[in-house]
Symmetry: C3
Subunit: 271 residues, 3 copies
């Protein structure tokens, strides 16, 4: 546990020191929020999606965030191009299959990215992950109607088979690479009341991946990012009990948490 | 009056109980805000606009919100497809003709939607509604330069002719189905100082329509939504007198208003 | 100095009195923020980018803001069409070359707009301006890696050659038309921690340009806008030391600064 807390602190220090460029190809709804989240952590977000520039931009970045929250054909093509560059250059990629299960387009694109572009991390809610692994499973728009228990086994199997990390977020976050699994117990129910809180957690993962030294750190970077994000939410919820003010306070605390607060608050456990 | 207040409380309870899915095809400027507004009310927003998925998504939803604030050809096509599904499945549709009167494209698309896709509710400011009903009337960008008096008669006629509900928002909101007309006196001038406050009121209407039991409730759902929204604005303005803080506080109060506050504050009158 | 302060007050009064329409063709990330910034100043923002309506919308506006933060082909075409109308009708144009230097697309489009659409004002950070004037200079995504000293001489030369105003923002803002140069010393480091703070400063310039009486006032409108914006940031930072709350407070102060606060706080110097 102490070791895991030290990892969170170490990753956070590296983000502040390096201010890594994080390339986001994400949805219209959350672009502003996820850019602010990334900035608050000390990194440098960039959004770019034109086919003419997307490869060049990914090539400059230390991590790539792909999010299908508001999909259309040009954006899908841009995502594939960016993923291709990321793979060639060993840039870590976190993929957020927003609404997989709600429409065939989203489920199909999610599976395609998983099969052909092998992201470093797949981050979704229980329903989205289940929709990807299981034919016929559905989602209510972009919100989860399943729990971690419904999908945990399938997720571990998928992580092992695809050699990726899967992060399932919810009341508790479950992260697994198929061998090692951890639970992140930080977080707060008000997160579910602000739009893009899941998408933001994906961008946080991307930011932490951006300072991982090699593949061996990806699992811990993912868990560390989610725990840090959840802890910031806990601090925000101490001060605010409604989503408008909670939302801006979350940004404040992502920016402000100090090492003592991290040391006292992070709750990661091996699962 | 007491009866109308009870309706607001009843609709709000149903939203919390059902957490209906509300499909928004809206503009880039307000997507984040209107998603947060919808979430704050207790519903589940989803944004999707790709031709490949828009029909499937509308089919899952309990209401459809169409907003032309940042229009382009692909989006127009998606709106028409979604409206078509909504009509076939009796899903209520609220249409926001943002900037009708400012450009021919917006006026034409607005009239087309009105003529061929018969939305349940048309919600606009005085200038937008006037531009739709009257050749040669114009708007200043997306802000109103007319008052309710300029358009009230035409609006009632249009509502009757098209068999739709028209909601004209402004210092007071006027809602009519051509037979019955009501005035909502809740609201606050600071709403005009935050971008997307009109678009948000449209999404609030969509959320209230989503829990209406049948057509007979649509007029009251519309009035109830606007009154609830206006009351939240009044509470926000008690605490904040500038638009940045007022804006997040509006979300807080959309989330937090309790039944006593509704009972004391709602001001709906038959017009 | 006193004279410059009076100019800020005078421009601000005109914005409140005229509530000019400011047409923005900008990026997805900042649309909501820049619309709110423009509204807070007392003006009326409109966003429109469809080829079918963009010329009509620009024709209605008192200023045009062009920002390439999330570029794609349809948007580029819309920008060129809008610039064309603005030039024909003598509507001032402020251009923000977001991320010029990061990708060839952004650098090329920026140079094209500069060469063929002669904006009234070019506003960027040091790296962006340097990338435009100097082959092979680069940017880290959308954040600056150069300082004013690296680019000042080239900027003055470019302003003279192209007969435009160049505004380079950073810890101090430098504004030059090639003949007269001024420094704006208002501002706060927290601006760099919120996404779109540069884009917002561009929209502020657009709003001030919208009330300039003729070409002779464009330089002072630019400096006045940046100084007012920086002063609002200073007031926001007195109350908040983290980016989430600082961001909404910035909007509050853009709305609320009174003439005494302007009189005491504006720091513009001839450079």
């Amino acid at each position: 546990m102490k070791e895991l807390i030290d990892k969170v602190i170490d990753f956070k220090r590296r983000i502040s020191a390096k201010a890594p460029l994080v390339h986001n190809i994400t949805n219209y709804v959350v672009m502003n929020l996820t850019a602010n989240v990334t900035l608050a952590l000390g990194a440098s977000p960039v959004m770019a999606h034109a086919e003419e520039e997307v490869e060049e931009m990914t090539g400059l970045a230390s991590a790539l965030v792909i999010n299908i929250g508001t999909l259309s054909q040009h954006w899908i093509k841009a995502m594939y191009l960016a993923c291709e560059v990321a793979r060639r250059r060993n840039i870590p990629v976190v993929f957020d299959p927003v609404g997989a299960g709600a429409t065939k387009l989203r489920t199909d694109v999610s599976r395609y990215i998983l099969d052909y572009h092998s992201p470093t991390v797949l981050r979704g809610n229980s329903s989205e992950i289940l929709a990807i692994v299981k034919e016929g499973s559905s989602t209510k728009g972009v919100d989860s109607i399943h729990t971690l228990t419904d999908v945990k086994t399938e997720a571990v199997d998928l992580a092992k088979k695809k050699e990726i990390i899967i992060a399932i977020t919810g009341p508790e976050d479950f992260i697994s690479d198929g061998q090692t699994s951890v639970l992140v117990k930080n977080g707060h129910p008000l997160l579910a009341k602000i739009t893009g809180s899941g998408c933001s957690s994906t961008s946080v993962i991307g930011t932490f991946l951006a300072v991982a030294r090699d593949k061996s750190e990806y699992l811990w970077a993912t868990a560390a990012g989610l725990a840090y994000y959840g802890l910031a939410a806990e601090y925000a919820a101490r001060e605010h009990n409604a989503p408008g003010s909670f939302g801006f306070s979350l940004i404040d605390w992502l920016f402000s948490l100090d090492e003592q607060q991290i040391g006292e608050g992070i709750r990661i456990e091996k699962a």
